[in-house]
Assembly symmetry: C2
Homo-oligomer: 466 residues x 2
Amino acid sequence: MSTETDPAPRARGILDMNSFDLGSGEVSPAVRRRLANLGSASVLFYRNPIEMVSAEGAWMIARDGQRYLDMYNNVPVVGHGHPEVIEAVTRQMRQLNTHTRYVVGVVDDYIEALKATLPAGLDNVVLTCSGSEANDLAMRLARRVSGGQGIIVTENAYHGNTAIVTEVSPAAIRNTALAEHVVTVPAPSRENFGDDIAGGFAGAVEAAIRQLRRRGIAPAALLVDTIFSSDGVHADPAGFLVPAVAAMRKAGGLFIADEVQPGFGRTGEAFWAVQRHGIEPDILTMGKPMGNGFPMAAMATHPEYLDAYCDDYGYFNTFGGNPVAAAAGHATLRVIQREGLMENARDIGARLRAELRAIADRSPCLAAVRGTGLFIGIDVCEPDRPRTPAPERTLRILEALQGRNILTGSAGKFGATIRVRPPLCITRDQADIFIDTFSAIMSEMEGGDAGYAASGRYRPAGHEYV
Amino acid sequence: MSTETDPAPRARGILDMNSFDLGSGEVSPAVRRRLANLGSASVLFYRNPIEMVSAEGAWMIARDGQRYLDMYNNVPVVGHGHPEVIEAVTRQMRQLNTHTRYVVGVVDDYIEALKATLPAGLDNVVLTCSGSEANDLAMRLARRVSGGQGIIVTENAYHGNTAIVTEVSPAAIRNTALAEHVVTVPAPSRENFGDDIAGGFAGAVEAAIRQLRRRGIAPAALLVDTIFSSDGVHADPAGFLVPAVAAMRKAGGLFIADEVQPGFGRTGEAFWAVQRHGIEPDILTMGKPMGNGFPMAAMATHPEYLDAYCDDYGYFNTFGGNPVAAAAGHATLRVIQREGLMENARDIGARLRAELRAIADRSPCLAAVRGTGLFIGIDVCEPDRPRTPAPERTLRILEALQGRNILTGSAGKFGATIRVRPPLCITRDQADIFIDTFSAIMSEMEGGDAGYAASGRYRPAGHEYV
C-alpha cells in the first residue's frame, strides 16, 4: 500500500483526491473557486471538503446547516469566537495599533504576564507573526550560539513553512532529500525503543550527532515539538526527553522546545509541555493558540543568546508585537488561567483517554491510545495486527466521524494515528458525544469492514500541518 | 564620520544611543521595561523614544498628551483606527476564524477582488502572515523554477526577517559578509548612473549575473522593492526597470516585485508600483498596508510556478488566509478604492514634492527630492555640497520634526534621506502642517547650524526596516 511507505502529505492532495470528480463536475463550485485562487498550496480536509460559515465554542457550522463538533483545531484554544478575546481585539484596534518602534505599555504588560508562565531564564521574548517565523529565528540563534549548523529532528517532524524551517520538517518534504545538515531520529515511541524510551531516544540523538560529525558538521540544536504531534503524539513517560537534551548539550548544541502545538496548558499537567519533562530549554517557541486565532507567535530565550544573534543581524518584525496582538494574547492567557482550562484539559483529557482505551480494548483495529491533557493520539491498525498501521482505515474513520459531525485529523509516520485536539473549553458532555460516536463507528466498522470499498484513489492528505 | 561608512542599522541602537543615560537613570521606566522584555531585538525610534497610547487617522497621541502627525507609517494605509476595517474584523471574528483547510467564501471573495488589481497572469495567491514569509516563499519558487540559486538585490535592500530573506537584506546585516549566492547592485539613482538610470541599472544587473556565473552560481531572480524604499526612494523615470528585468529573464532568472511597501496605491499613478514601470512580474509580494495593521501578506504568482514548488514541498500557513484577515484585507481594499486614496496619494504627493522642492531650492542642506505618490525621499547634504550625504544632520532634522510633533524616518545607503510616507488618507491641511514645519526647521537650522552640538554618540538607527 503506497500510503504506508509514502506518508508525506500532498499539498495537491485535494486535486489528486478529486481528480475523478473534476471532469464530471462533481466538485462543488466553492471548491473549484478555491482551487483557482489558492492553487497547489490549497490543501482541503476530506474528500468532500466542508464549507464553513460560522463557529462558536467547540462547534463549527457548515454552509449546509450541519453542525460539527470541533475535536481537532488547536488554535481557538478558549473556544471559537470567545467574546473576551474579540472585545480585547476590538478595543485595542480602536485605541492603537502600531509597531514596536514606539513604546506601548500593553505590549510590555502582556510579555510580563507571559514570562511569568515560562521556564526560568527565558527573559527575552521576540514576538513574531507565526510559529514558522519563531522557529526560523530560533534555528539562527542556535547556530550562532553553538557555532554549528546541524539540526536534529524527528523523522516525521513538522516545524513550519519558511525555507530553513521546511528543511527540518520531513513531514512537508515530498520529492527532495533531506539537507546534509539535517539528521532525523525516530519518534520517541514504544514501537521504536521498547520500554526504555528515554534511553533509546537519547541513543538515537547521540547517533545522529555522530552522523553529523562524520559529515563534518557540528550540531547546533535538537529541535522537537515537545508533544511530537506530527509524529503521532508521544507524551510518556514524562521526563523521557532529559537524557536526549543532555546529550545535545554535551555535544555543544542547544535544545529548542517547539511549543507551538502543546503550549498554553493543552498538555494538562503543565503550562508548557517541556515543564512536564522537567527541562529548562535554551529556546522556546510558541504560536497557534497564543491569540485564539489572532496571528501571533513568539520565541523566548536567554538575553545573551539574542544578543549574540543581534551582533550579526538586525531583527525587526512589522506586525510582531503590535498592541492588538498583545491584547489578543493577554485576553487569551487571562481566560485560560481564570477559567482553569489547563485543569479542564487535564480532567477531560484523562476521561477521554480512559474511555478511548476501553473502546480500544474491545476493538481489534485500535492498537494504542496515547497523550496527555487534550492532546491525544489513537493508533489504527489492521484487525488483530497491532503492529501494522492502517492509514486507509484511519481515513475511513475520519470520514465516518465527519459523516456524524465530528472533526478530527490524522498524524504519524504512516498517517495511521487519529489525532484528537479540541479547544480546551470542551465540556464533559461534548467529550461524551465524541466518545459515543467514536464507539459506535468502531463497532459498525468491525461488523461491516468488508463492505467498505477502499478506492485507493486518495491519500492521507493534509493531516500533518495544522 | 563613522556613520557615512557604516550605514547598517543597529538593532541595539537604542542601547548604544542611551548608554550614556542608563547609568544616570535618565532612561524612562517605560523604556527600561521594554529593553528588559524585548532585549537586543528592540529598536526604538529616536534617542528619546515615544510612548504611544492612541491614534486616529493620521494622528498618534503619546502618553504625555503630545499629538504627532504621522508622516511615516505605511501600515495604517486608510488611517489609524479606521472604523470600517475594525467593524469588518470584529464582525468576522464573531462569525468564523479558521484556517484554509476548510472552504470559507469570504476568503475567495477577497482573493478575487485582490486579483482584479494585479498584473496579468498572477492567478494564484498564497496568503501569509508577513511580507517576510511572502518573500521567503517567492525566493524558493524562483529557485525551483529557474534552477539557479543566485539572487540579485540592491546594495541597501531590505526584504524581511526570515533566514533566507535576511541573507538578501544588506540593510539588516551587521558583522557578517554577504552569502556567496547574493550579489548586490547600486540603487537606481542619478548619483550612481547619471542620466541613463535604465541602462545603468540593467548594466549593473548584467554585471551581477556575470559575477554569479564566475562563482559557478546560476541566477534565480532579480528581487527588488519596486520603490527602493530602504535605498532612499527611487521612482523615476517610470519604466527604468524594464531592461534590468529583461536582462534577468534572458539569463534564465525570474523577476520578483517586492511590493510590500509601495503596493496598494501608495505610488499614486498605479495600484502596484511595478505597473508604473509597465512590467508584469513573475512573482509579486505584498504586505504592510494590506490589512491596515491586521497581520497579513501574500505572494501572487503564475499557477505553474506554484505547482513546481509544491511538487517538492507542501505549503500550509496556519494563520495565512484566515477569514478575519480576508475581512480586514477586503475592507482596506474597499476603502482605498471607494475613497480614492490612490488618487489622493497622487495629488497630495505631487503637492508635497512641489513644496519640498521649493524648500530644497532655497536650502543649501537639501540636495534632492524624489518619489511618486505618497512615497517621498529628501536627500540631506552638507551645506552647499550636494554630493556629500549628511546622516548626522538628517537625524537632527528628524529630531527637530519630532520636537514639533511630526513623525518621519530616514533611509538610504548613508542614512541621509528623509523618508516621508504618511497614511494615504492624509489631507491637504495635514500636508501643509508638515510643509510649514519642515520649512521652518530648515530655515532655523541653516541660521543656527553651528549652535547644534553634534554628540557623535548615536547612530542612524532603526530607520531601515519599517
